[in-house]
Symmetry: C2
Subunit: 215 residues, 2 copies
Amino acid sequence: MSEAPSEEARVRRLAERAGYDAASINPILDDGWVAHVGIVRNGRPVVIPMYYVRDGDSLLLHGAPAAGTLREGKGTEVCVSVTLLEGLVLARSAFHHSMNYRSVVVHGTAVPVDDPVEKEAALELFVERMVPGRQAMIRPNTAKEIQGTGVLRVALDNASTKVRSGDPVDDDEDYELPIWAGVVPVTEVLGAPVGDGRSPEGVVVPDNVAALADG
Amino acid sequence: MSEAPSEEARVRRLAERAGYDAASINPILDDGWVAHVGIVRNGRPVVIPMYYVRDGDSLLLHGAPAAGTLREGKGTEVCVSVTLLEGLVLARSAFHHSMNYRSVVVHGTAVPVDDPVEKEAALELFVERMVPGRQAMIRPNTAKEIQGTGVLRVALDNASTKVRSGDPVDDDEDYELPIWAGVVPVTEVLGAPVGDGRSPEGVVVPDNVAALADG
């Protein structure tokens, strides 16, 4: 556990589960696929699911929604939350039922990436994070596509992690009760790739795509 | 697809993927485990991951965070987002890479459930949604536990769904290129339960817990 970078980022509840350094933050972000991005619109909260990728000490978001909802002015205040569910925690009382998870919450400003070179590099990261090596195997971006995609950068310097793992924690006297308690593990599994059947004859699943499948 | 219940709930981007009726909304909520709950705090967005359960035409949230962050006054405006990732969509160009998913976004007011009878029924739902039949197998709630848990209700009458499924959609001319394209399925898998080893001798994994495991 390190120090909270700001009062905003400080985890208030169960602070012993919190972390604030890159060593805590980066592995969680690198294992997740979907961020929930919160903004304030007309004074009200809006939360949008978005694909993201980490680029060193910042996060990148992209897409037309990025260009639309988030791209208002020079930067929009966002809260980006990534959560990996890892288990259902079944305790001896309802009160101590819980979940195992790893999560990151980032507070920051979503700043548009407008430089075309920087933007193209960002777009490549989105593809490469999905399938390492894929950019070189697909049709290159056109200038129109690069122009037509909004990319936003959010620094990771105001972020926190929160992690729960392990067994349920029950009240001492409840351990004597004849009740089973433990964890049901939850994992996200990538399956065997399914082609769309529309490639020319002889095109097979590339090794880097096949390698994504778990187990 | 039905009509958007409000301008706020209307899906602006790729509106053909949107739905607004219970038949669209409920199955997605019933398959998810974690909601990302957005609020506005000091004018800024905050997004918190929370366990939730659907109760008819509303969502229930609970916990000390619910009691703390969300329980300000008679009700807090929230945006509750639930997203199920179902596939990585690998296209012939970076631009058409995408994800398959089912998502719900709910706009509403989180209203505290204060009536003790209603609250206890709500707490039971949280346990029963995790493991059907579990409430009867665990130590009953104490009055103190019920009192010490914040429960919030959010109506589902201002919500939308968005779904993407199926193959990549590439530019017509790109289908001639010798590039593999398709979908890598993503599924959330519940594994075999792991006991904490602290129950009295003879206590085995109950059938309803064992039944959670996929495949």
